[in-house]
């Protein structure tokens, strides 16, 4: 009744006032290009220069746990973009001395772009003494033909002062979707890890209420006002509740399980301790639902905890061991199917082969040449060592940096053989 009266009142007022005020105006649209390709060239260390009020920079570091944005001008090579918003970012990597940063290029001006990008992320690598787990991992994902952010290294200068070695990360946003999936009007969710929860969310069914899934743990990045948590609820229900006979057929509406096994295989080859089957429950991925479909796809994110512990990192960690409530329900159930289990193991073997690409060719001095992964680690180390050593704000000593690089090289050299052994152990003798 009230609405009816409201509408009647509004309609009458509109008749009286019709045309009194000006009509709406449209604002400009911008297009995304791949002009950023040079920025993500990982064969050089880039120089990123920020001009920001010194007070704001100190304030950002002091209030690093907040997402307050500050105005700044950004310069890379001859490209300058003014009036961007920068803020502290990250979860466990948030740091008041060497803050992780997000550049919101269009925060103050909606259609502003920098090299075609709306956002840019600068990882501080405060949880990685080597500085390169993230970049090498994402590069390996792409090497395995899985869509992943492009990355490169940068020296960050704030008001001409060098403040540390950072990793430039391509954000997963509509531009990324368009470039990699050729569409971007679907539903993008960032998995939002609940740090306060003692028991992680592991894809178990929480009931019919969509609010149990969105915005936590699935935080909508597109269609924020109508994030369609109901589709995620159906997806999760199917994972957990659909009968065995219909499971594969029903799941095909929501997920390409073979592709998912490939994603999982690459993650676990890289010994990802904080990923889809991480020690703290599932974490560090984006979920995208394609336009006009219920089909989702996973995309990797934040791989700073890869190369974990040793080359012997078990390929079924937190799948066949670990606390029950940490085990990803989707992974556990999918691996009950022989073909999916084979897809997973085959991906691991493929990763092992890719990591060793070129290893058998003899070097000039007669010694065995390193494989692709070991070469990447070595090349990147030579690239960043000067910048990393002169980074006096990093939370690691230079000795720790060197030790971490040594561990990484060892991992890269020995991981393939270790994975092959583990895969062989899992397969029945033929």
């Amino acid at each position: 009744m009230v609405r009816t009266r409201f509408h009647a009142f509004a309609a009458a007022a509109l008749v009286v006032l019709g045309g009194l005020l000006s009509p709406s105006r449209a604002h400009g649209q911008s297009t995304s290009t791949d002009a950023a390709g040079a920025l993500f060239d990982d064969s050089v260390v880039h120089d990123i220069r920020l001009t920001i009020s010194p007070r704001d920079w100190e304030s950002l570091k002091e209030h690093f746990k907040e997402n307050t944005r500050y105005p700044a001008d950004l310069r890379w090579r001859d490209e300058t973009v003014r009036s961007i918003g920068i803020r502290s970012r990250g979860n466990g990597s948030r740091n008041g001395s060497k803050p992780g940063l997000k550049f919101d290029i269009n925060y103050y001006t909606a259609d502003q772009r920098f090299l075609g990008l709306k956002n840019l992320i600068l990882r501080n690598n405060t949880q990685d003494a080597s500085n390169m787990r993230e970049l090498v991992s994402m590069k390996f994902f792409r090497h395995m033909n899985i869509k992943a952010s492009r990355e490169s290294f940068a020296r960050l200068f704030v008001n001409t002062i060098y403040v540390g070695l950072y990793t430039i990360v391509e954000d997963i946003d509509k531009d990324f979707l368009k470039k990699n999936l050729d569409e971007n009007d679907g539903y993008l969710y960032e998995y939002d890890f609940d740090e306060d929860s003692r028991i992680p969310y592991a894809f178990e069914y929480l009931g019919t209420d969509p609010a149990k899934y969105v915005p936590m743990p699935f935080k909508a990045q597109t269609h924020e006002s109508d994030p369609r948590g109901d589709v995620i609820e159906r997806f999760i229900w199917t994972i957990n509740e659909a009968g065995a006979a219909a499971w594969r057929q029903m799941m095909s509406e929501f997920l390409d399980l073979t592709a998912f096994m490939r994603h999982l295989g690459v993650e676990n080859f890289l010994a990802e301790e904080d990923g889809i089957t991480g020690d703290y429950g599932p974490n560090n991925f984006y979920l995208y639902r394609f336009e006009k479909k219920n089909l989702f796809t996973f995309m990797p994110w934040d791989k700073s905890n890869t190369f974990w512990e040793s080359p012997e990192y078990w390929i079924f960690r937190n799948i066949k061991d670990g606390p029950e409530d940490h085990r990803n329900r989707l992974v556990v159930r999918a691996l009950q199917y022989d073909d999916l289990r084979e897809a997973y193991l085959n991906t691991l073997l493929e990763c092992a082969a890719s990591a060793e690409e070129g290893a058998n060719a003899a070097a000039a001095d007669g010694a065995a040449a390193p494989g692709w992964l070991e070469r990447e680690v070595g090349t990147l180390y030579e690239l960043i060592k000067a910048a990393a050593r002169s980074d006096t704000i990093k939370p690691f000593s230079n000795d720790q940096f060197e030790a971490a690089i040594t561990d990484l090289k060892t991992f890269a050299k020995e991981r393939s053989a270790a994975v092959r052994r583990m895969v062989a152990d899992e397969r029945p003798q033929r």
Binding site: A10, A13, L17, L21, R25, S53, P54, R55, E62, S83
Partner: protein, 482 residues
């Protein structure tokens, strides 16, 4: 809503009591009331009491020194009944306890409940809201000490997650030892802005104007001297305050610091405009200190009327904040018109990205408004119905309209304009609003207001609706005042 309905029934019942029991003049016929109003207009100089537009205050007509439409604070002696001897409890305007002329305490209550609707996509807006629920006391001790205490109960107006303010509204003492130089101490409204100083239950519209809400300072703690001359033909208020009011502050905005404020009103055309009603002119200034101690911007912000959508974010400021306003208030018979212009300038010393000085941040607002009582009563604030509802009449019905604009920019600047809070040239942002309304005053206690507000946020990127379109907001308010 149940307590409100109970109050409503009680109010209608109370309002329908014989006039002699509740209010000797409440049941007067419209014609008689109108005649009396006319008489008052024709012979203003013969009035003995300090009543500007009416000879008897309504329940919510508190003697607030800064309330432009309440009567100037009557001396305690004026409030005494002719037979006011000894200790007694009365209920004429408010429940009241009195001890001769030595002590008086009146209980007051103000309840405003809203049904609201606005553009699609505003999920945070509660469709029903217990908007304002205040209780308080006021009175006097001896003849020269007046006091007032008022507290918000629901805090819906205060916060809603956006603007935390103190639940204490007016908490003050007014000393009347010198009639033309009264001294007020405590928390009360800084004397600035006609619309802001109009009592919350006296307003012609559900929401105050944009300038009153976001540029005028509102309440703060301070000390003020005030008084009147020439039979209230000239009034003044001047004071110093701890900060620059609730409207300049929020959980994230520190607001201004020490503030000086002064306001003067007058009726210079009184002798020239007989028969054309009363025209009162007013002007006010404030000067406040502005610090950049907070790491967040400390400037003013612009928000829409009902949804409080931020269309202009605060900028970094430091130095002084200067406000100036001018207003005119014209009342003639059943009609009234108001207009007000407000200008605010904030220094931005050392607030550039390179610690350089920036051009001042500037905010401006204006409105024009008019009302017409269809039922013929003389316009007062609050309106007094000639024939009260359920007492042989239908109450007073009034139409109202207001057009206004609030805008922000910088006073010059040679750089390209930006929205960022350290921009040398601030990209202009503004909001235009048209409010159409109807007010139905059932009796002394109950009023129903219906408003439709059409807003147009001028910066498309800060517009809460797509494509920079204008949008309507609608509200029905039920008000009960004791």
């Amino acid at each position: 809503m149940l307590p409100l309905l109970t109050c409503l029934v009680a109010a209608l019942t109370l309002g329908s009591q014989p006039a002699s029991a509740a209010d000797p003049q409440a049941g007067a016929q419209p014609e008689a009331k109108t005649e009396k109003a006319k008489k008052n207009e024709k012979k203003p100089k013969k009035e003995k009491k300090a009543k500007k537009k009416s000879d008897k205050p309504a329940p919510d007509e508190g003697p607030t020194a800064t309330d432009t439409d309440a009567a100037p604070a009557p001396a305690p002696a004026d409030q005494l009944e002719p037979d006011g001897k000894g200790t007694r409890v009365t209920w004429k305007q408010h429940p009241s306890f009195r001890i001769g002329s030595v002590f008086r305490i009146d209980l007051e209550a103000k309840f405003q409940e809203d049904l609201r609707d606005t553009y699609v996509g505003e999920p945070d807006l509660p469709r029903t809201q217990l908007h304002r629920n205040r209780i308080g006391v006021q009175g006097h001790l001896f003849k020269q000490i007046e006091y007032e205490v008022e507290r918000e109960l629901t805090e819906k107006e205060l916060d809603a997650g956006k603007t935390p303010k103190s639940p204490w509204k007016d908490v003050n003492v007014n000393l009347t030892f010198v009639r033309n130089a009264q001294v007020k101490i405590g928390k009360f409204k800084i004397p600035f802005g006609l619309d802001q100083l109009t009592g919350v239950t006296h307003n012609d519209f559900v929401y105050r104007s944009l300038g009153a809400n976001y540029l005028a300072p509102a309440r703060d703690i301070g000390l003020m001297v005030h008084g009147s001359f020439l039979k209230h033909g000239l009034q003044y208020w001047s004071g110093v305050f701890r900060h620059d009011g609730d409207n300049a502050r929020s959980s994230k905005i520190q607001g201004g610091d020490e503030t000086f404020a002064g306001r003067v009103t007058g009726t210079p055309f009184r002798s020239l405009t007989r028969g054309l009603g009363e025209i009162e002119l007013g002007t006010a200034v404030t000067v406040s200190k502005l610090s950049d101690d907070s790491f967040r911007p400390n400037g003013l912000r612009g928000r829409t009327i009902m949804t409080q959508h931020v269309f202009y974010e605060p900028v970094y400021v430091k130095g002084e904040r200067r406000r100036w306003e001018a207003d005119v208030d014209w009342t003639v018979g059943p009609a009234s018109a108001r207009a007000e212009y407000t200008w605010v300038s904030d220094d931005r010393r050392q607030q550039g990205i390179g610690d350089n000085d920036l051009q001042n941040a500037r905010a401006r607002s204006w409105y024009v408004s008019g009302t017409w009582l269809l039922t013929g009563e003389a316009k007062t604030r609050p309106v007094k119905a000639g024939g009260e509802f359920l007492q042989g009449g239908w109450g007073a019905l009034e139409l109202a309209a207001r057009y206004e604009r609030l805008s922000f920019d910088s006073a010059g600047g040679t750089d390209v304009p930006f929205r960022n809070p350290r921009a040398e040239t601030i990209l202009p942002a503004g909001d235009r609003a048209l409010t159409l309304g109807a007010n139905w005053t059932l009796n002394r206690f109950v009023k129903v207001q219906v408003n439709g507000v059409r807003e147009q946020v001028e910066d498309n990127e800060r517009n809460p609706v797509p494509n920079g379109a204008a949008f309507w907001s609608r509200v029905i308010r039920l008000q009960f005042v004791l």
